[in-house]
């Protein structure tokens, strides 16, 4: 099944990592909600922007956790089979991440 990560082939994604990712995503959702409230309360733009910069950094961290996991599992498995296509794809995606 192409749509699913190679994790499913052997073992599910590491539970600890899934928990870590979901906690981070929840925290980011909370921060986004905070920005929404700040706009409702007509708060100082500078403070809104600092909060947005913080969310961007938190999101970048999530992206790199997923990327690292992908590289250490799916991509590495492919490399061991002399298939470099997923590596090339991962590098192209990385270029698009902040």
């Amino acid at each position: 099944m192409e749509d699913y990560c190679c994790h499913t082939k052997h073992t599910p994604r590491d539970e600890k990592m899934v928990k870590n990712l979901k906690q981070r995503l929840n925290r980011i959702a909370g921060q986004l909600n905070g920005v929404s409230k700040m706009i409702d309360e007509n708060r100082y733009c500078g403070d809104v922007l600092i909060q947005i910069a913080a969310i961007e950094n938190a999101l970048k961290e999530v992206g790199y956790i997923v990327l690292k996991d992908h590289m250490m599992t799916c991509v590495s498995d492919d490399i061991k089979n002399n298939d470099f296509s997923s590596l090339e794809e991962a590098i192209e995606i990385t270029k698009k991440l902040k």
Copy 2:
């Protein structure tokens, strides 16, 4: 009140812009929720990363809408009074935005 944007001094933030910003923030919250589901469903990491890159871009747009509004109102008012401190602050914050 230093904590509040200069908008409050004269007029509240433009309603249209507030609506636009809140719609964007809602959409981003939905996208974040989508990423969370993708992780639950053990979806392909490459697809998760593409989604994260999309959220990063959407968030960057929100940041620049807030920045532009800030520059066109608060910062411009200060500049007209020969006060460049909010401009300097805004540039420092911009450096931190993606």
Copy 3:
């Protein structure tokens, strides 16, 4: 003359700033040359990449020095005349800077 910065209208660009910018650009040119040599000497890719990241940061600094100067002079003058076009343009350019 549209091609020239508003500095020319009144005074030339601050000499100190020009010197600062040119020193930074020279240093970056030297760093670039260093990367070229590292490639000739078949140096470790990781070290080449760290050097490239350093150049990117140095270039970002130069960009923000020019941006700040632009905002504090040309853009501010226009704002005082209720012309926001150069501010809008500057924000669009900032989005393209790293």
Copy 4:
């Protein structure tokens, strides 16, 4: 020799790639020189900034060419030997690239 890229272990870096990289670095050096001249000629800040953004993009391209080469050779060789340290290192460096 730790300082040298794994290329030296087997074969030198691909000549074509070295030529490509050096051409790109030369072009960037020329662009930097152009910015220096623009500053001397007191050219419009907006144009200087657009040129700096172009250099940043060109530099990012160079970084990703080196990264991809590194991943396809050194890092992949290590992965095949179940050594993931260079992959982890490469991901950390990627975070620092623009």
